[in-house]
Symmetry: D2
Subunit: 355 residues, 4 copies
Amino acid sequence: MSGNSFGKIFRITTFGESHGPAVGVVLDGCPAGLELHEDDIQKELDRRRPGQSEITTPRDEADKVEILSGVFEGKTTGTPVCMVVYNKNQQSKDYGDVKNLFRPGHADYTYFMKYGIRDYRGGGRSSSRETIGRVAAGAVAKKLLSLKDIKITGYVKQIGTVKGEKFDEDFIERNPVRCADSEKYQEMKNYILKAKDRGDSVGGIVEVIIRGVEPGLGEPVFDRLNADLAKAILSLPAVKGIEFGRGFDVVYACGSENNDEISPHGFLSNNAGGTLGGISTGQDIVFRFPVKPASSILIPKQTIDKFGNSREVVTKGRHDPCVAPRVVPVAEAMASLVIVDSLMINKNKKISDFS
Amino acid sequence: MSGNSFGKIFRITTFGESHGPAVGVVLDGCPAGLELHEDDIQKELDRRRPGQSEITTPRDEADKVEILSGVFEGKTTGTPVCMVVYNKNQQSKDYGDVKNLFRPGHADYTYFMKYGIRDYRGGGRSSSRETIGRVAAGAVAKKLLSLKDIKITGYVKQIGTVKGEKFDEDFIERNPVRCADSEKYQEMKNYILKAKDRGDSVGGIVEVIIRGVEPGLGEPVFDRLNADLAKAILSLPAVKGIEFGRGFDVVYACGSENNDEISPHGFLSNNAGGTLGGISTGQDIVFRFPVKPASSILIPKQTIDKFGNSREVVTKGRHDPCVAPRVVPVAEAMASLVIVDSLMINKNKKISDFS
Amino acid sequence: MSGNSFGKIFRITTFGESHGPAVGVVLDGCPAGLELHEDDIQKELDRRRPGQSEITTPRDEADKVEILSGVFEGKTTGTPVCMVVYNKNQQSKDYGDVKNLFRPGHADYTYFMKYGIRDYRGGGRSSSRETIGRVAAGAVAKKLLSLKDIKITGYVKQIGTVKGEKFDEDFIERNPVRCADSEKYQEMKNYILKAKDRGDSVGGIVEVIIRGVEPGLGEPVFDRLNADLAKAILSLPAVKGIEFGRGFDVVYACGSENNDEISPHGFLSNNAGGTLGGISTGQDIVFRFPVKPASSILIPKQTIDKFGNSREVVTKGRHDPCVAPRVVPVAEAMASLVIVDSLMINKNKKISDFS
Amino acid sequence: MSGNSFGKIFRITTFGESHGPAVGVVLDGCPAGLELHEDDIQKELDRRRPGQSEITTPRDEADKVEILSGVFEGKTTGTPVCMVVYNKNQQSKDYGDVKNLFRPGHADYTYFMKYGIRDYRGGGRSSSRETIGRVAAGAVAKKLLSLKDIKITGYVKQIGTVKGEKFDEDFIERNPVRCADSEKYQEMKNYILKAKDRGDSVGGIVEVIIRGVEPGLGEPVFDRLNADLAKAILSLPAVKGIEFGRGFDVVYACGSENNDEISPHGFLSNNAGGTLGGISTGQDIVFRFPVKPASSILIPKQTIDKFGNSREVVTKGRHDPCVAPRVVPVAEAMASLVIVDSLMINKNKKISDFS
């Protein structure tokens, strides 16, 4: 109801603020008997943490995870798994009058209007540090999916005007842009660095591919698999949309070209992006989403303070000139959570499953 | 859990199949004391029903609504409002071997894979007749929103290659395309009719604008207003994506141009599309979504039957060559449901509201 | 959220008022492929309907059910099953000033305080006619349970001061009191008829036994099987409590006698009533609950009207002098819903189930 | 879905095992702006912790709470409040073959059957240490209720055969039995100590009174206030039933005596226990529940191990001979959570509240 939980059977609740004592997650609904170690979680957290290259923020956050519950002798017990990352450097620095300012592009204004109070330190709850909990739970989901040979791969498809074309999957985790096109990598990187030099930021487009999903996942009529994925992805900071399969370009298609024909050997195309009527077809599920340029920039901008006075603001500190690369593991985590949940929900659909 | 319900406090559950006895909705959570008559509902249902012009299907479905509960002496009582439309023409026609075929672009295959059984008459549950329940409940939501001067307007922005540019709000309901540009209307219509002549169908893009929303709606971090709207819209048949504000084009922007500055008189731009951190800013909420070309076409296509044999299929009958115009009232209904629910959820956020 | 739904995966939403057009239920989450006919439902509705004997109200309500959705060619399709009973005799009789009176023991006062408006005809939503929807959905649940040889049996254990002792299961449905003790039947019946002659009503105690449940049902820590059953039963009109196994008498026991010992052949006693830590042990689940004397009586009582004036009221019309016998099928329905839901929820608990 | 969450708007999720790193709770839905300090929580935790007197276990657990999120500058921010108690003494002692035994009366057997694995250290998740999270969240709820002058008082009404009669509210927290009858206190205490001397345990009955609740709380038809309270209380370890108002004794009453008459100055009696039709009347809400004798006893009992072999077991260690006194603050916590949630849910019931 208050928006800090996600999922129905495999359900997470995240908590924590950027500069509070900790950020974390409670994962409820994980089956008992899954081997789970802190390393499984840490591996994914390391993919999202800052300080990984010159195009991400140089802030060095170790983000070490601790499992507080739900695991016994190296296995899950079926009870809630609470995972916590204690925040370092939460010493009370002087926030000056930043605490009264609403930074453009940030959630400062809206949190204040909603709650009448806000934790202004580093964005508080609206900080992207909140996604640590998502990634931690997503790591568990990924482990479950690996048991069913389902693989979720995200990568950066476009940075500013530079579009990737080739899809070299192995290249993705070997470059800090997380693009899949080794020929366009340098151009993308330079695009980001140029913005960084100006104290500015740039946007990107991320694509996610889910392979190995069986037909039948997703619930009609509201909880369609694509609708649940849309909600999951749009719940990420900085994401402004989503499209599946042919996406917005479907406007240029006719039904006769867009309908995916079926042969005895399977579908002949995948314009639909892996679902029909909101239910998985068994093909790859493919979606893309735009990531806005990071809101924290070094260029002065006009705003107001909480008393309504006109002010100028610059977001000091060290920031990502482009957040798209770091969104990739978070998007994968969200997609993993959705797929695991769908698999669990799908257990009670046929009378043969019940009896 | 099974996907037929939507909303948290203002919550609907739809039921019914295309050719079963009835389609309908149970709306739970409507405040007591709202004046409500069947006319209020019928008005919106008439906007979505077929047979309205030469560019929609000529099937004539009266779609008369009956209120079965929750209203007493012309007012809601706070108990569930059940609204039903009995299906006409559900006589058992001969479905020949269509009943064993999976029509491309339809949900035939996926429903069969999920449930092992399907009501093949007119698409059964996956028919767009299911949206009748949504529109009926949405009509109640609209009535509630009118009490707060919140207005939701949808229109067709693009048909195939023809983009609308002007925004003449009064024109929308006066043309069957539901476009807002009277100069482009004829061109859009012709685009549709040409496809119709070929037995084919075309796609479109719909835009929705929500005006009058107060700041503070939407819940961090998963139930962001834009995430909930995304889920609502992606739960509609034929919708393949969504974007807010600047949307996918945000990839071409820098932070310094994309951040919406704030003056003492309000925001100076609305690239964000009305939310920051997933919470409404008080500006217009603006989103667009692509509607795929209708799957039912008269052009033969390759498919399989449920025994795995290769087959050819043509969707006989009378169909919409373009569903985008009829999606408009349904999208408005879904947006209305989301906004009403958000308003209700937002009641318990400040200690001053509680005590 | 508004209290008209029950269950998580196997979930029902009831709607309808006593004298509105209809009462009914939408059942979501029923597996596809279950054979289901209106007769299956009608059979259970006939057990709860009035007019069955001299100790129930002589009102004759046929209560014929119609299935509006979710069943195709005699089988469920996995989509919502809407079942409706249209109300007869809803002609607008003169309610005189009853409409402004709060009848003692009824929900008139509380509904008015909550909603500021109420449907005063026959209790409106608070009428026990609402339970028709529960019984209809419960009939589907019972059918599912029969596939797993789970049997739920309710009976009247006590009427006023008359306690049943023998448990003759076959006798239950052969006597209008629904007691299981043929030797005490006449005494119980006379107790009721004596109250009826005075225009008064009497209370009773009902016991329910659930046999054939596997170990492992129920979720720690809040959704214990006994907690969910308690909620289900306390949600029935006129029920004032519940106890499991040894129940309140546990206060007189020591741990050394109350703990149920276990042998290689099973538990040696069942003081717990079939659950430990809220999870089923595989033994019979046994609970009892008190049913208050019906609130509608012919003896004048003091009350107020909605303007705060002191008034005297007599509930005219034909009423049950004792509702316990008619509560039996409704309690069985509620228990059936809980058990089916628990079975479905229990599908995702072990990693071996998932992979 | 997995049973570790409770409440709808004011919603808690508890986590943690008896001998794991920590137990705790995430509270979501607390309004922003409530003054909250760790002392507020600690005060209630101190009421439930062991080692308080000779009739509770001498284990000394400090149970110091830490707030990890959701509070900033001494006030709640509207974001999730995570509260944690780190477990002391979780050093890995030798559990010998206890780890393979199912202790009678405990949840060992059922957890093993459900999950195929269990944390056998001190009961793991089924330990009453889980209730620490409930009490912590309940302390926040109590603080909210105090703003509305709602007061919840629990006390021990009966120990074994010794019934309290007088109700001296001030006495409750001044005696370790938490009874309200100073004349019966010594007798109750002796009853407990005698069982303790035998290595045995005894049961009790607890009563809870909720004062100051406005009329209108609770939702028809399933989420009745009494049904929600029943679920809350039955979700506590060792509780075997509940009754409201006149409770089981209602079987001996006639409608003419049991119906609570109403005068212009209010109700003339409270047999109903504070609700009608599941909605609060504004009178005191009164309920009682039996607490079984603690399962951990020093008297040898027959059981089996997980291989099915017959075994004898004695629960070594220091245990409570009677848990009823320590259940009191936990029951108050659960009742507080239900009432706060009901108040929040009740915000959207009248059209005048909405517009």
